[in-house]
């Protein structure tokens, strides 16, 4: 290895080796390999400092800690926070214990979720829908009443549906980090925790609208777009304008030739690339206000991409997972030159991969 380059670490995830820089987390390394190997993340949000560790959706098993100390880690670890070591071997969906734990996390997150997707504006671009589709069961074992909350009005722009919240704390970090004067975000404890009314105070802030984009579910939605349409009937277009407050780089969502919603741009992991101001988001909805750049690159996980949801959709399988290393969807700019594939014995792979329509035993 040349002295000038930083020493790269090699980590193997589900049989695919990848070289990454020191300090990279398992999740980031897996994302480098590709979408089929990347663990789901419901709370981690790369642009937000301190996020992650809460939802436990990204749990993986570390089968070998490093070349130096190849012992396995005793518990499943949150891949979004665990830094890779050289020679680490990670099992994601190839480990039945991980598959089982993740199944449990879906179940926990849906336990008190109202499942009101038919009337939820987030439907179609909801991380929880995707997570449940990929890792959950179609049935529930929960018989009790779901929890409810007093309705709270948090201002003219943002609609809070506390019942849909999964307490990922993303909006809290957003408010802390990109808006001023907001320290405490969650009130109450345990399953009675709720997003606090302090948002009402932060609402005059120019950047408060970004909590809508970071929210993985429909707990925070855009009041100016409320019930206007369904995501899959709209057409996203990248556009920009000269904005005195923010970068002015947005995605416009069209129905016909009418802009019905403005959001920040997101990368393929559904993370905002640049936060935008409230004026761009809520007040600037005429095509003439914008310089159109062209159609938005549709990420593979989006409901807009063809055949995302089909009951008979083939689940990640051995061959496909290996193919992930080379697999590049259209517009995918990942650098796959640092990947190499190791053939794992078949018994290392989960016997029971989650299935969308699995009957209760």
């Amino acid at each position: 290895m040349e002295d000038t380059k930083p020493q790269l670490l090699t980590v193997t995830i589900d049989g695919i080796a990848v070289e990454v820089e020191p300090g990279t987390t398992i999740l980031q390394a897996a994302r480098k390999i590709g979408p089929d190997v990347a663990p789901p993340a419901m709370c981690y949000y790369q642009p937000l400092k301190g996020s992650g560790g809460k939802c436990r959706a990204c749990l993986v098993r570390v089968a070998a800690g490093s070349t130096k100390d190849p012992r396995p880690m005793p518990k499943l670890v949150a891949s979004c926070l665990t830094a890779v070591q050289d020679g680490m071997v990670v099992e994601n969906t190839t480990n039945p214990q991980v598959v089982d734990a993740r199944n449990g996390i879906v179940e926990f997150l849906l336990l008190n979720h109202p499942l009101d997707c038919p009337v939820c504006d987030q439907a179609g671009e909801c991380d929880l829908q995707n997570f449940a589709f990929d890792h959950g069961k179609a049935t529930t074992r929960y018989e009790e009443d779901r929890r409810t909350f007093e309705k709270k009005d948090i201002g003219p722009y943002i609609q809070l549906h506390m019942t849909r919240c999964i307490l990922c704390y993303r909006c809290v970090y957003t408010a802390d980090q990109i808006t001023e004067k907001r320290v405490h975000g969650v009130l109450g404890r345990g399953d009675a925790s709720e997003i606090g009314t302090y948002i009402e105070k932060a609402i005059d802030n120019d950047f408060s609208g970004n909590v809508i984009d970071v929210c993985p579910v429909g707990a925070l939605t855009d009041k100016t777009y409320r019930f206007k349409n369904r995501v899959w009937f709209t057409k996203p277009v990248d556009a920009h304008r000269d904005c005195p407050t923010c970068s002015g780089k947005v995605t416009l969502w069209y129905r016909g030739d009418e802009v019905i919603r403005v959001t920040a741009r997101k990368n393929e992991w559904n993370e905002v690339t640049e936060f935008i101001c409230n004026t761009c988001r809520f007040e600037t909805k005429k095509t003439s206000d914008w310089v159109i750049e062209g159609p938005t690159k549709v990420s593979r996980s989006s409901v807009i991409s063809a055949n995302k949801y089909r009951a008979d959709l083939e689940k990640p399988s051995f061959g496909k997972r290996l193919a992930a290393a080379e697999y590049k969807p259209i517009h995918d700019e990942r650098d796959t030159s640092q990947l190499s594939i190791q053939q794992l014995p078949p018994e290392r792979f989960a016997k029971t991969l989650p299935s969308a329509v699995e009957p209760e035993p």
Binding site: R56, D100, L111
Partner: protein, 446 residues
Amino acid sequence: MTKKILTEHINVPGIETFDVYRQQGGYTAVEKALKTMTPDEIVEEVKKAGVRGRGGAGFPMGMKWSFLAKPEGVPRYLVCNADESEPGTFKDHYLMKHIPHLLIEGMIVSSFALGANKSFIYVRGELMYVIRILEKAIAEAKAKGFLGKNILGSGYDLELVVQPGGGAYICGEETALLESLEGKRGNPRNKPPFPAVKGLYQCPTVVNNVESIATTSWIINNGGDAYAAIGIGRSTGTKLISASGHMRKPGVYEIELGLPVEDFIYADEWCGGIRPGHKFKALVAGGSSVPILPANLALTLANGEKRLMSYESLSDGGFATGTMLGSGGFILFDETSCIVKNTWNFSRFYHHESCGQCSPCREGTGWMEKVLHRIEHGHGHQHDIDLLVDVSKKIEGNTICPLGDAAAWPVASAIRHFRDEFQWHIDHPTEATQPGAVYRGEMALV
């Protein structure tokens, strides 16, 4: 009589005052430590003593101290965990209330050993009167030159701060405690980094339980080897046990580790036996978080030997037939106790106290409580028992802090050892919901 280290002078009238405590040999450890020992020597003695953390996890205290990072120019902190909120545990409360100077002396010696110039005692918020006792004792010690600037002319400064807790069980978890101490919401932190590297205000910090810190004075005075000679094997020294439940003499007892469980329950020196006319059914040996054991397994190991009050013996057999010493909350149940109801009660506690950060604990604790509530109230289904086991498994080990485990273990162990009783509740709902109804089927009562 067994050796008393912490409670030797606890019944001396006026021991809560500086003067009486001093007459009984108090604060000699501070004199010895500050005048004749280096910090490293103290750490070495504590290591030799082999004393293990008394807050629940049982991590060797000397080892924890030696992990403390010591970067130049960064302050280090010692924080005493006096948040004691585990159901069944009330020993720290007892110690602080009766002999506050023992903790303060320990804090001075320990802070000196760790190079901390500002240390904190985080006391459960409900115990305002104990906080006042501690503050009074600190003022006394300060007036006598044992706290403040240049203690006893040694050049060492120490400020001791008592902080009332935020009123939540979770604030006893060390990283939640640090968050709370910093004035934030008491959410546990993700680890690593551990407090020894990044603790209070992101500075290296040691968090220790009241009882752990209180042992240090004796260790300084008598030497680590003398301490290690007490107890059994790697369970050195004495332990305060908070004994409660259906026994003749509940209370706080200081025992030498290694005492047989049987002696502790039946001898007059300690619990004095099961309350008259009743039989021993089950035991929670170390606070509500540890697995419950039926009477026979509480008294004897799987191989027939007597079970002892020690870290190793109580955990012998793993969770299949063993439990944990935990924080020493010893709760005894006789045959009139309904295990289902008790499990539901514990479960209710954890549901109420979950901080709500991570999904398995936030959602799972509530779910288990609701299912247990249903079974207890005669609405259980056949599949509920397996459901509870499965939910507990999906929480265990998958959470940020050990509260998730603490919520899962009591449920899993109650079902492991008392499954018939749960089944009876489901099969005979009418009978089981009669006032005072308890399962009387086959079980090992002692």
